[in-house]
């Protein structure tokens, strides 16, 4: 019902709150322009970008834009920035990289992801180690802490061996004696140490031998750290490490990474680990 008595034009005949009448004026021109501009933009957008679903695929868009293409472009940007360093790495030894402040810094920053993907599962994200897995941040290295030896450990892996000494070799009382001496840091003064042949691998000074991977028995760092350290030492002596004849033996094996990682990646990891805080 239209009430045309309003001097300002046609109304819809609706009245609200006693006084508000709705006029039938057309929308403002700028508003209509905005409306048309909007749908034109939508059409252009769907022409430019991939959009409409088709029977077996979709309309690819006139610009040929894809999200994977944009990702690859971005990745290439990163690779290009890194190229100035990455190009140098294959021709250099790990020691040479370590000696070059700029390259060392680059490797330290860029290899965090590599370490996280491949090493952190056992050694912890910061290299702090985990029960059964040695810390990489301290200065105690079973197989040597020089950059070359670290690189070798990563590439070829490591598997030390300590025969079980329990049962036929040592009585429980002897194991107690040896373990207490190790725990107190006085193993070299214990007569059993030489008498039972421990000295052969762990050395007259008790510091172990990097060539064999035998543990240092006189420092403050424990390879198999536990709450009850004395009990842990006893268990290690009794069952050995990686002794195939004892089902309760300690298992300690670092897998080889050559073949899984490129030589350059291994080199970068060696530098990274060396710089974590304990490299020698």
């Amino acid at each position: 019902m239209s009430d045309n008595s309003n001097p300002h034009g046609q109304t819809t005949g609706h009245v609200w709150d006693e006084t508000l009448a709705e006029l039938t004026n057309p929308p403002p021109k700028w508003w209509m322009l905005g409306l048309h501009a909007s749908w034109i933009l939508v059409v252009l957008y769907t022409l430019y970008y991939p959009s409409w679903p088709l029977v077996s695929s979709h309309f690819k868009g006139l610009a040929g834009w894809t999200s994977i293409g944009e990702f690859k472009k971005d990745m290439k940007e990163v690779t290009d920035i890194r190229a100035k360093y990455e190009d140098k790495l294959p021709g250099m030894s790990a020691a040479a990289i370590l000696a070059d402040d700029e390259l060392k810094n680059y490797v330290m920053r860029s290899s965090k992801v590599l370490f996280g993907d491949n090493c952190a599962a056992c050694h912890g994200s910061g290299g702090a180690g985990n029960p059964g897995y040695p810390a990489l941040v301290d200065d105690d290295w079973l197989f040597g802490g020089s950059i070359e030896l670290i690189e070798q450990s990563i590439a070829a892996g490591r598997k030390g061996m300590m025969p079980k000494m329990g049962g036929a070799q040592l009585s429980d009382a002897e194991i107690d004696k040896l373990a207490t001496a190790i725990h107190n840091g006085t193993i070299t003064e214990e007569p059993l140490y030489a008498a039972k042949g421990c000295i052969g691998c762990h050395g007259p000074d008790g510091k172990g031998m990097a060539a064999l991977g035998s543990a240092n028995l006189v420092d403050k760092i424990w390879r198999f750290k536990a709450k009850d350290q004395l009990a842990s030492i006893k268990a290690t002596i009794a069952h050995g490490v990686n002794d195939p004849t004892d089902p309760n033996t300690r298992k300690a094996e670092m897998p080889a990474w050559k073949g899984r990682l490129t030589d350059t990646q291994i080199k970068k990891l060696a530098v990274y680990v060396h710089a974590l805080g304990g490299g020698q």
């Binding site: 309003n6 910061g126 403050k220 304990g278």
Partner: protein, 475 residues
């Protein structure tokens, strides 16, 4: 319809009243071009002086300081250079205070004297005034301009119009270039522009400014203040009854009426309805209808009215700066007894205090230390405890410098990684991994404070220090 006829009638009357009121209140939405008359007087002179503040925009980029551009907002390198000071993103809290200061200044000034910013300082007013002044020079006074616009296109009209547009265009181009020059080396910019070597962004921004200046100052003018600018409305709500504004003194002016034989008619007020106040108004309003949204408080009507009052031998100030309280015959509270003024002033003082503190304590070099996690500490084989630190050194000077890092806190501790002086690149934050080894017997607590200190070896007066922690197992 079910309502009674009386109710319908009263409805119709209500709505008619509302429509009538709205209809009598004419608001120009751009359908009517304003041809302001050239004003003269003390307010006009004052306004040209206050508009002069915008000369800084044109001159600023060419100032030099120690061989560098004195003021340079270097966005790509994230640095602001202001007379030898380098402000980095780390100092951005000062920008917040600067913004707060100006926001409060706007509020304080507006509550005291209305839209002073709009009328005297705003770029929209300044550029529009300049453009209209040029229009007046080229096309003549309002009557001539009206006639010229209505006239058919002739060679004379074409000449005047194109000359005007050309002059406007030159000003717009200079405005655009001057703006861009704040963000890049000004001399290099001119060189690049003249050899057509400037970047697409530079050309784009300059083009936008040309279009914006021509449109806003040439075409939209007062419509910008009516419909586009949010500050126009925001400032309107900052008024109170004590705010002084250009006000028509209706007690003195009404009833208005024209002169008869050069004399005021007996019984009439001082307003002779000469409409000079409307003629000079850049927004085309009638100040005699009271304070309204269109008034940018530019005060030109004060000049126009005063000139007329002098001519007819009446006291000036029929239109003057006055508050609503004054019009209602109340006494004004002194400025410093108004709570709003005091609150605004307090915030102003605090923010400017913060800025001064910030500017005076801006260091040349800065050190921050992140303690390494996982692990918090490392047991070393010789019994010492090792902690890892990421030492971040910010060099705000304009040179690459060498830095010496020292640390103290635990007896017998050794800082590793700082044996050689470190190279800190200018305007950069360098990150350096360092270790501290401390003998276990000297560590008293799980956490011990450690102070890192850096010294610029090239200028030992420049130092900075940072306190971090040394973590150790429970003793």
């Amino acid at each position: 319809m079910t309502e009674s006829s009386t109710s319908n009638e009263s409805k119709a009357r209500y709505s008619d009243d509302i429509y009538e009121e709205a209809a009598n209140w004419h608001v120009n939405t751009g359908e009517e071009k304003i041809y302001p008359k050239k004003a003269a007087g003390k307010w006009r002179r004052l306004k040209w002086i206050t508009h002069g503040i915008w000369l800084i925009l044109f001159i600023g980029p060419y100032l030099r300081w120690n061989g560098q551009q004195a003021i340079l907002f270097d966005i790509p390198n994230r640095q602001f250079h202001i007379f030898g000071l380098t402000i980095l993103p780390q100092d951005v809290w000062m920008l917040a205070l600067v913004l707060l200061f100006f926001a409060m200044l706007l509020a304080a000034v507006t509550t005291i004297a209305g839209r002073v910013y709009c009328g005297f300082f705003c770029f929209q007013t300044a550029w529009t005034d300049l453009f209209i002044w040029l229009e007046d020079k080229i096309e003549g006074p309002p009557a001539k301009r009206r006639k010229l616009d209505a006239a058919p296109w002739t060679a004379e009209k074409l000449r005047k119009k194109s000359l005007k547009l050309l002059v406007w265009f030159v000003i717009s181009v200079l405005t655009g270039i001057s703006f861009v020059a704040w963000f890049t080396d000004a001399r290099q910019l001119w060189h690049d522009l003249l050899t057509f070597n400037a970047s697409a962004i530079e050309y784009g921004v300059i083009a936008l400014f040309i279009a914006g200046t021509m449109l806003l100052a040439g075409k939209l003018r007062e419509q910008t203040c009516f419909w586009l600018c949010p500050y126009a409305r925001i400032q309107g709500v900052m008024y109170d009854k004590e705010t002084i504004l250009p006000t028509y003194d209706f007690h003195r002016g009404e009833p208005r009426g024209r002169l008869k034989k050069g004399q005021l008619v007996e019984g009439n007020g001082d307003c002779i309805d000469c409409k000079q106040c409307i003629a000079v108004c850049p927004t085309g309003i009638d100040i005699r209808m009271g304070q309204q949204e269109g008034c940018i408080t530019c005060s030109l009507c004060l000049d126009a009215c005063d000139a007329v009052m002098e001519k007819i031998g009446r006291p000036t100030g029929l239109i003057r700066y006055a508050s609503m309280d004054e019009m209602e015959g109340k006494t004004q509270l002194p400025l410093l007894k108004r709570p709003r003024v005091l609150i605004y002033l307090t915030i102003l003082v605090l923010s400017i205090g913060g800025i001064i503190y910030g500017l005076t304590s801006l260091g040349h070099i800065e050190v921050k230390v992140l303690h390494g996690r996982t692990p918090l500490f490392v047991q070393r084989s010789d019994g010492t405890i090792q902690n890892k630190y990421d030492v971040k050194i910010l060099n705000k000077t304009t040179d690459d410098i060498s830095i010496k890092v020292t640390a103290s806190g635990i007896e017998g501790m050794v800082l590793k990684g700082a044996e050689k002086p470190l190279l800190a690149r200018k305007g950069n934050t360098g990150s350096y991994i360092m270790f501290i080894n401390a003998p276990a017997e000297n560590i008293k607590d799980e956490r011990t404070p450690i102070t890192f200190k850096i010294v610029n070896l090239d200028d030992p007066t420049q130092t900075s220090s940072y306190e971090s922690m040394f973590f150790a197992p429970k003793p």
